[in-house]
Symmetry: C2
Subunit: 557 residues, 2 copies
């Protein structure tokens, strides 16, 4: 079972050093530190374990280091920055592991871009040696790419010529759409295993600058100082907050945190997930209830990671990663929320009153945004059940809006209600750049305006249905059957077709680099990974390094 | 070998009737008329052969019927409009056939939308019975959907619940992005094999109106009359032009038309395609040379389908379809153009001087646009070779710009040249809504402006390279080797990875429904088609209709 929880003291592959406003993340992969046996992580190649540490470091930099305004990613190895995903690992992994691995690394790279764009922590890739494949894709996620100009260091995407697969973590999309490399040069680049170096790499826009080794240290320092100086990182106290270890109990049938619990039914293929609102009975009865909603942002700083919104976001984040990776046969997630909607909305309001000025409020909202996006790209059917005593309001209403379908109990006493809040109207956009409500009411601004008008109200099922905020509103006579059938039916469908259906329906409307990466690029990569030309006994992934040439079915599809 | 050439006299599945400004296309599929043995086309289900006729009819309506301003698509069967793609056919087809079939049907449906939007021929789907799967997707391509309200006729997308695949011809994208069906309702709809009928179908925006049988004929007439009345179809003479049979010679190693030829090298996996400019030596020496460029648009009407631009477009269109379908192992297409650039540009200019007022000029430009788009979504590596005597100018320069890479001979005497013309600067957008030049210089408006400034000039290789219009400019010492290596190398790569690479690189920048359909939806469908859950011995496609339930690997990916 893969565990996504770690901390710097346990890192085997990364070093985090902070010097005033500049942090340096040094990749120095332990060859023997693979997550599973069977491969050596040579040349700073990585597996999921290496990326779990990177994700942890990026998160901790945001929450723990309010004064850090620029982050340099570089290598601790001689002559190589990073050789990308480990090929032996990829060749041995089953299909769903490969896909999950790519998804998580993509999310981490998107998180790096989010830090540069929205946290005032600007990432600089200092390529002190060759960056190949996923190594170059990691650089592409940074705001600025420096490549040492030493007649041997290059950037490259050798996946196609060497492995018969695509660069799987956004490389193709970022080369054309972010760095604006001309498509025919990009084509040539992606077929050239040795890559492109020096001035040509700059001229083709593959990197921002090529720096001779003699000026390397000085130039890296200068770039990072300049980035830190122009950073808009918010104020709000010099002291970071510590992300303490999550309290988590994991059995074969249940995952329990303080504010989130999931019961796993392997026979039915269903996880029943409950999120507890601020002040609600906690999932872990032994845990004292959350303090009531803090009054000021200073109280949030004092509470640190015990502040409800941050705590529940961390738990959800870990749960999504856990179930995605460790429970691939649990194809349907049923989501409930229990507690007092007013408390949820009060936490939301406190954050939104401060997120333009206080770094911690900003970070919590951004983290919530990223976690909800993680849910959006999770290949599981999502069904929200809205019952009396639930608290789908504001930030937690986003969970219901992220679902493929929702059911709300009609006419009960007390009534089930939902509430639209400020969190639903802007600060938590999806990957397509729209809020979940905007995506829901695409092309129907009148319907969206009606919903906005009712913000703050406790909406009962008939109202919620009229407004289009929920899918179905059965009464208590129909509820059990309708819900049971919906869940059973979902489990009876082809898991692959559901994945494709959801990947298409969840992102209506405009496209962004993010939706292209998760929608288009990922789908092609999934297909290619699955084909014998890559993964078959004579496929390129298996043949690599054996001295044998791959044998291809030459039919073009 | 599949032949895409047909004509109304040979149709087995469609009837075309014209009544003043309204044409009616009646689908009445001959059960025994399948393209290959092994299945019966029951309930107006279709295979590639049925769709070839539909494509032909849509084309002939545009060129042959200047007075037709509305087209009604309806069914000749009782109680069923169309049951979609034939499932036995799909279950038996190999992977590349399935993918090719979906691509062609997608292109035909996009062509229907193009006719509604740009030709003033508005398509109305008159669903006089149930429209399932591909049948409903055909309706979705129409501008207006009418469904008979008779307590049995419904619209449905039963692919996921019944077959374990996705609706493969744009259904998911058009439901959310064109018709703006709410995503949770769309989700429910796509899991409900029996579909949605009557008022609910209208309320959910799946159809535009549900009409009782008693008013059906009258309402269909009224809607089509109204559409015809508000149509902006252009003037330019009442007489259509006939699309006469293409002169084509096809052997195992060559395809020859009047203005286009292709030699096929199966060992190397390469097709060498030459397009002959207006007035150049024709590909078929027996054919008399094309008349010189006509002086006025009236001359174009007189020449009809012998007018060079229309003739060469028809031939290219047929060649693309032929090679795509019949030569899947020829993975690289090398494109050359021979002739006088001035003649090409003169034809372009004549068309563009008239395409806002003359229906035929408009139709020819639109057809050229659609044919170039067909090239863009063709899963073959495209390499342009620009040599002395070539005529990559204006409309033919688009061929080079559509290529993944281009090589232009430097410093020869006479020099190889290319010319930018008005056709490169607007009228021939790609599926992403941008011209090929805009896509090429995405995010670099300065480079694009430089190119526009040089329009009309004969640009030699050094200029063309500086401007970024070509990829490489080897001199005659390097030419043979560089070109040979590029072609050989391409043939050595994984065909699947090349398909994925090209599908990502060719559509940088904004996304549209079209790019979503060919980029995202198609990629997911390809993956799903290929998985055992659909196509394996126990997969849903094979199990359908046998009484056995499909057995799924329940792992979610």
């Amino acid at each position: 079972m893969v565990d996504f929880r770690t901390s710097p003291a346990r890192y085997r592959h990364w070093r985090l050093a902070v010097d005033g406003p500049v942090a340096t993340l040094t990749m120095d992969v332990d060859e023997q530190g693979g997550l599973v046996p069977g491969y050596e992580l040579k040349l700073n190649s990585y597996d999921l374990g290496v990326d779990i540490e990177l994700y942890d470091a990026v998160q901790r930099l945001r929450f723990g280091y309010p004064r850090v305004k620029a982050v340099v990613i570089t290598s601790g190895k001689d002559k190589v920055f990073c050789a990308g995903a480990n090929i032996r690992m990829l060749a041995a992994a089953d299909h769903s592991s490969k896909v999950n691995f790519c998804k998580f690394t993509n999310e981490t790279r998107n998180g790096i871009e989010d830090a540069s764009q929205n946290s005032g922590q600007t990432y600089i890739a200092a390529l002190n040696g060759t960056a190949s494949g996923g190594g170059y894709e990691l650089a592409l996620a940074c705001d600025h790419i420096m490549l040492v100009d030493d007649r041997s260091s290059a950037v490259s995407l050798p996946e196609l010529p060497l492995l018969g697969v695509l660069p799987g973590t956004g490389g193709l999309t970022r080369v054309t759409d972010k760095r604006r490399v001309r498509r025919d040069l990009a084509d040539y680049f992606a077929t050239k295993a040795e890559g492109v170096a020096g001035k040509k790499a700059v001229q083709w826009k593959l990197v921002d600058e090529a720096v001779p080794r003699a000026q390397w240290q000085e130039q890296v320092s200068e770039r990072s100082r300049a980035a830190a100086q122009s950073s808009p990182r918010l104020a709000g106290g010099e002291t970071g907050i510590e992300l303490t270890p999550l309290e988590k109990t994991r059995t074969d049938t249940a995952v329990t945190y303080t504010h989130v619990s999931a019961s796993l039914d392997h026979d039915r293929g269903v996880a029943e997930i409950t999120v507890y609102g601020s002040g609600a009975d906690p999932a872990t009865p032994a845990t004292p209830p959350t303090p009531t909603t803090p009054a000021t942002i200073n109280d949030v700083h004092t509470l640190g990671d015990k502040f409800w919104t941050l705590a529940v976001t961390r738990e959800l984040d870990d749960l999504i990663l856990d179930l995605r990776t460790n429970e691939p046969e649990i194809g349907t997630w049923v989501l409930r929320a229990r507690g007092d909607a007013a408390n949820v909305l009060a936490c939301d309001d406190l954050l939104l009153a401060n997120d333009a000025t206080d770094w911690l409020a900003n970070e919590i909202v951004l983290y919530l945004k990223r976690t909800l996006k993680r849910l959006d790209v999770t290949s599981r059917s999502l069904i929200a059940l809205i019952e009396p005593g639930s608290c789908f309001a504001g930030s937690l209403l986003e969970l219901a809006l992220a679902c493929d379908r929702s059911y709300m109990l009609l006419g009960s006493d007390p009534a089930a209600t939902i509430s639209v809040g400020a969190m639903n109207l802007g600060p938590l956009p999806m990957g397509n750049g729209l809020t979940r409500a905007q995506t829901r009411f695409l092309g129907d601004p009148e319907a969206l305006a009606q919903v906005e008008k009712r913000a703050g109200e406790q909406l009962e099922a008939d109202d919620a249905q009229r407004l289009g905020l929920i899918t179905f509103a059965p009464d208590d006579i129909d509820w059990d059957d309708e819900v049971r059938i919906a869940v059973e039916e979902r489990a009876s469908f082809s898991p692959d077709a559901l994945t494709g259906l959801e990947a298409n329906y969840r992102f209506a409307g405009p496209e962004t680099m993010e939706t292209k990466i998760f929608g288009r690029l990922t789908a092609w990569q999934n297909w290619i990974f699955y084909r014998p030309n890559a993964s078959g006994p004579d496929g390129a992934l298996r043949a690599y390094g054996t001295g044998k040439r791959a044998r291809f079915d030459r039919k073009r599809v």
